[in-house]
């Protein structure tokens, strides 16, 4: 009697398909959570939106006793601090990425990368504590010196206005810059690493110096990815909460060019006002969170799309 052959065409057994279903469900959970965030928070923010209408976005008057919630100054503060952070972080982060990938000898590369990554391990609230009790008091003098030196120049003088205290847009921006440098530089490093060795060696073989090789072969190749990395850093800077809450100065209604003015940002006002907020104010703060969620989502969408397009192209080329 012949052995019965195993039927290889039979359908997956129960346990097998159950496991598959479980894993698909876990994947879908990501989409469900993001969808739920959008739906539930928007619905909770409706009372504030009905009460304030478009004034919520255009008015800078935020008065709890009068039940007036205009969030323009917070949106402005978020843009201001994130811009300062990005301007300060770009040269440093890209510089580190280029140095570790193109110039540093192989044996120092890993220790350097680990050192920069240590910055990402320090929790946000610790940066906040350090900013409020170490950096801010130390920087007031520097801010005043900059104001005294450049304050008289038209236009530039408005940016470097008087500093009432060390807790202001600039201090928050510096802290944010420190926090996003490791993120931006590690992403930039990944992109730069995809430069085909042939292009780098070709440039060197043609007699280019190392710097000419970087500007002629590496940068053109990884420009898109670096822009994406910077945008991911921008998204982080916009959403960072506790470090900014502690260092931005918590002033209401501040809109202006002065980087040394105390102000407030969207995440910061949510964190600082939540404890004592009544229901309408809570609704207004949730509406702010919806605005913040939408902005960071858009920035991240763009960043991820840019990064994935540029890495796909560069992998295809190599």
């Amino acid at each position: 009697m012949a052995l019965q052959p195993l039927d290889l065409r039979r359908k997956a057994r129960g346990a097998d398909s159950a496991f598959k279903a479980l894993s698909v469900a876990a994947g879908l959970l990501v989409l469900v959570i993001l969808g739920l965030i959008a739906i539930t928070m928007t619905s909770k923010s409706m009372p504030a939106l009905r009460e304030m209408g478009a004034d919520f976005f255009t008015s800078k008057r935020w008065s709890v006793p009068d039940k007036v919630y205009g969030a323009f100054s917070f949106i402005f503060g978020t843009v201001m601090t994130a811009t300062i952070a990005i301007v300060l972080a770009i040269p440093v982060a890209v510089g580190i990425a280029l140095f570790t990938t193109q110039i540093a000898p192989a044996w120092v590369r890993k220790p350097m990368v680990y050192t920069v990554d240590l910055l990402a391990v320090v929790p946000s609230v610790v940066f906040g504590l350090w900013g409020i009790s170490f950096l801010a008091p130390k920087m007031v003098g520097v801010y005043r010196w900059i104001h005294d030196t450049f304050g008289g120049i038209p236009l530039v003088g408005r940016v470097f206005g008087p500093a009432a205290s060390g807790r202001n847009f600039m201090t928050a921006g510096i802290i944010l810059a420190i926090m996003i440098v490791p993120i931006v530089s590690s992403l930039a490093r990944e992109v730069i690493d995809t430069t085909p060795p042939g292009e780098r060696e070709g440039a060197l073989a043609l007699g280019a110096t190392r710097w000419e090789m970087i500007t002629g072969a590496v940068i053109p190749h990884s420009k898109g990815g670096i822009v994406g990395a910077i945008m991911l850093g921008l998204g982080r800077a916009m959403g960072e909460t506790i470090a900014v809450t502690l260092t931005i100065g918590s002033s209401l209604g501040v809109v202006g060019a002065n980087v040394f003015a105390s102000g407030n940002s969207m995440p910061a006002i949510i964190a600082s006002d939540w404890g004592e907020a009544d229901s309408l104010q809570k609704s207004a703060l949730i509406l702010l969170a919806v605005v913040l969620f939408t902005l960071t989502l858009l920035v991240n969408f763009a960043a991820v799309a840019i990064v994935s397009r540029s890495t796909r192209r560069s992998l295809g080329a190599s």
């Binding site: 195993l6 997956a12 346990a15 097998d16 496991f19 598959k20 894993s23 698909v24 876990a26 994947g27 879908l28 959970l29 990501v30 989409l31 959570i33 993001l34 739920l36 965030i37 539930t40 928070m41 909770k44 440093v92 982060a93 890209v94 510089g95 580190i96 140095f99 110039i103 920069v116 990554d117 910055l119 391990v121 320090v122 929790p123 946000s124 609230v125 610790v126 906040g128 504590l129 350090w130 409020i132 009790s133 170490f134 420190i178 190392r210 710097w211 959403g239 909460t241 506790i242 502690l246 995440p267 949510i270 964190a271 939540w274 969170a289 969620f293 960071t296 969408f301 991820v304 994935s308």
Partner: protein, 297 residues
């Protein structure tokens, strides 16, 4: 004019020459790139130095185990409840996020491949890593804390939401490194797909996954904003995740950082030292695990 003179170009470039503006520019650029690294080590040294020096002033067993001070200006008091709170809240978040994250990554790499659904999930998971922690905290407040009371579990849910996409993405990267041949060999022996994944693929990728999870835990333990809306405030040790308000190390640092009293500020630095030490230990273990045991590209 001889033939040799005609062939000689009007001016020659001496490729062996040192100096010149091109070399100078290269030197300046190299120095600037090195400077960018030096610039970033300054805040790192300052932050860690300040935390260690100021934190050591209050550090000790009575500080690590004592109850939260009743009033800010009091000299004594510790962070015992904050340490227990951080342990249970982050621990429960890890318990929620790790299995879901692993399953999500298994879907992306083992089942979804490059289908439209897998692509969408992968894209959204990357986007989700960028959702601000304050938004995640408010989201859990809206869907959970409003219905149930403030307790550690709300914080755990928010932290789990923050960890989930990170774990999915790092685990997927690790699954990519497992050689195709291992899967094929297992399937050829007649093993079912789910069993192949659980007994062959996951163990092969385990060190890398553990390292990714530890890094995610270290980051989650330092999050403050999601806890503001969800866990309430407590001064006594509460080992329960599900009942009663709780506190955590980041919450204590935040509360004390805003205080005008020296005693409170010192307690803040002590809590900061404890939190940074925990985060560093997790990161170092993660690095060792991934350097020693994981699959190499």
């Amino acid at each position: 004019m001889s033939a040799v003179d005609v062939l000689r170009p009007a001016s020659t470039v001496d490729l062996t020459a040192k100096g010149g503006w091109r070399t100078l520019k290269n030197r300046i650029a190299t120095a600037l790139l090195l400077a960018s690294f030096v610039v970033v080590t300054i805040p790192l040294i300052l932050v860690i130095g300040t935390v260690v020096i100021k934190g050591m002033k209050v550090m000790g067993t009575s500080f690590l185990t004592g109850e939260i001070a009743a009033t800010e200006q009091r000299a004594k008091g510790g962070i015992g409840p904050a340490i227990s709170g951080t342990l249970v809240i982050t621990g429960f978040a890890t318990l929620l996020a790790v299995p879901l994250g692993l399953l999500g990554a298994i879907f992306l790499h083992e089942y979804g491949n490059n289908g439209p659904l897998a692509k969408a999930v992968r894209f959204m998971a990357t986007v989700m890593t960028g959702v601000p922690s304050v938004v995640m905290g408010l989201f859990i407040y809206v869907v959970w804390t409003l219905r149930f009371k403030q307790a550690g579990v709300g914080g755990s849910l928010a932290l789990a939401c923050l960890m989930l996409p990170i774990i999915i993405r790092t685990t997927e990267e690790m699954l990519k490194l497992v050689p195709r041949e291992l899967r094929d060999a297992s399937l050829a022996l007649g093993t079912s797909k789910s069993r192949t994944i659980l007994t062959v693929v996951l163990p092969a990728a385990l060190p890398g996954i553990v390292s990714g999870v530890l890094l995610a835990v270290a980051r989650a333990a330092g999050e403050t904003a999601p806890l503001l809306f969800t866990i309430g405030a407590a001064r006594k040790v509460n080992w329960s995740v599900f009942s009663g308000a709780n506190t955590a190390l980041p919450s204590q640092i935040f509360a004390n950082a805003n205080s005008a009293f020296d005693n409170a500020q010192n307690r803040g630095w002590g809590a900061a030292l404890t939190l940074v030490a925990i985060a560093f230990v997790f990161t170092i273990i993660a690095r060792v695990v991934s350097a020693r045991f994981s699959l190499k590209r």
